[in-house]
């Protein structure tokens, strides 16, 4: 009996402490350029679980934090589809992750994600970060937020963080395609010149 009480109190302390740690984890302390990204296991809209390690024959990933409800994310949807169409066959598939708390943003819930992916014809997985445990590791703060990873012997190394390009309003008026430039450099075995860019986005709802 005593043992049980002890166990329960220890467990309670552990739970409290870990809850506190999670609350305090500052998203801006996520991955930096050159860090190895941990693998994750998240549910796709088709019900299957997806991990980076499932992808055997890729050179890297275009991890895209996005959602249904942010107007900036919506403005970039077609460009995210284009990225996947252009680069999945070259070894850099898009993996989209929806990071918002769906109690705060019901328009981003699993059903809504399915519907959006279907109507837009997403050609890539659209995963839900249900426990909201993956986006803080990346240090994603907003949607859309892109992380390009290169698969190496030591793991998936973060090579680029930021925006897709330099004009959210008009894809035809873009001067610099940040994400494409980064992937092209990696495909050519070169270093990425512009490793980080900033763009306005909707804060991730936690």
């Amino acid at each position: 009996m005593k043992k049980t009480i002890k166990l329960i109190s220890v467990l309670t302390i552990v739970i409290c402490v870990s809850a506190f740690t999670i609350v305090n984890s500052n998203p801006s302390n996520g991955y930096k350029i050159g860090d190895v990204a941990e693998d994750f296991l998240l549910k796709n809209i088709d019900g299957n679980m997806v991990a980076l390690s499932d992808y055997k024959d890729v050179k890297g990933f275009i991890i895209t934090f996005t959602c249904n409800t942010c107007p900036y994310a919506v403005m970039y949807e077609d460009r995210i589809i284009d990225l996947n169409n252009k680069y999945a066959s070259k070894g850099y598939p898009v993996i989209a992750i929806m990071p918002n708390d769906t109690d705060i943003k019901p328009g981003d819930n699993f059903q809504a994600m399915k519907a959006r992916a279907e109507s837009k014809g997403f050609t890539f997985p659209y995963l839900i970060d249900e426990a909201q445990s993956v986006y803080p590791k990346f240090g994603a703060t907003k949607t859309p937020h892109i992380f390009i990873l290169q698969k190496t012997l030591k793991g998936n190394v973060v090579k680029y963080i930021g925006a897709i390009d330099d004009n959210y309003k008009d894809a035809s008026a873009v001067n610099t395609k940040y994400a494409e430039n980064a992937i092209n450099a990696l495909l050519e075995g070169k270093e990425v010149k512009q490793t980080e860019t900033k763009a306005i986005g909707c804060s991730i709802k936690a």
Partner: protein
């Protein structure tokens, strides 16, 4: 039997006519609403800047405390905290504090959404619109640490400044302002 069909047919026709009338009325009312709305927003002045034009609002040297809040009508947490900024502007006016609300709404929605919003919420603080698509060039100029999510707020007085990529409660805002006042 034939009579029954006829009666049903007549009933159905009447039903439809009735419905149509209702729809017409509804359309007329909504037209009126749109019309009055439109008249109202004509009085809303909106200064629109690119970053080069906007920069002066971040660098005034007139001993005033400026609270520059980046927001948008589509950003729920921004809209939630707007009343606190309004209250701050009102309550601390006499203490040389000015709130400027910098809208990052999409330019094609200035007339349809932003202006009606300003009118409807009766915003008293100065509202300006920042329209500059080349965000990577200007976001770091506002603050190096800004990842680009909104709401975000700069509070400054001459060369003393603080940046916040977060939501505020009124109490938190007041606490920050008091640091600048002391």
């Amino acid at each position: 039997m034939k009579l029954k069909v006829l009666i049903i047919a007549i009933l159905l026709t009447f039903g439809c006519v009735n419905k149509n009338k209702k729809t017409e009325v509804a359309i007329e009312i909504s037209k009126m609403k749109v019309a009055t709305h439109h008249n109202n927003i004509k009085n809303v002045d909106l200064e629109i800047y690119d970053y080069a034009g906007f920069e002066k609002f971040l660098n005034k040297q007139d001993d005033k405390i400026y609270v520059i809040n980046f927001w948008a009508t589509w950003c729920a947490p921004c809209v939630k905290e707007l009343p606190y900024f309004e209250k701050l502007n009102e309550s601390y006016k006499s203490k040389n504090v000015e709130v400027i609300l910098v809208s990052l709404d999409f330019p094609h929605l200035y007339e349809k959404k932003l202006k009606p919003f300003i009118k409807e919420k009766q915003l008293k603080s100065k509202v300006i619109a920042l329209d500059d698509a080349d965000m990577n060039s200007w976001i770091p100029k506002v603050d190096k640490s800004w990842s680009g999510s909104i709401p975000a707020t700069v509070i400054y007085k001459n060369n003393e400044r603080k940046f916040f990529e977060q939501s505020f409660t009124y109490k938190e805002l007041e606490t920050e302002i008091k640091h600048f006042l002391n």
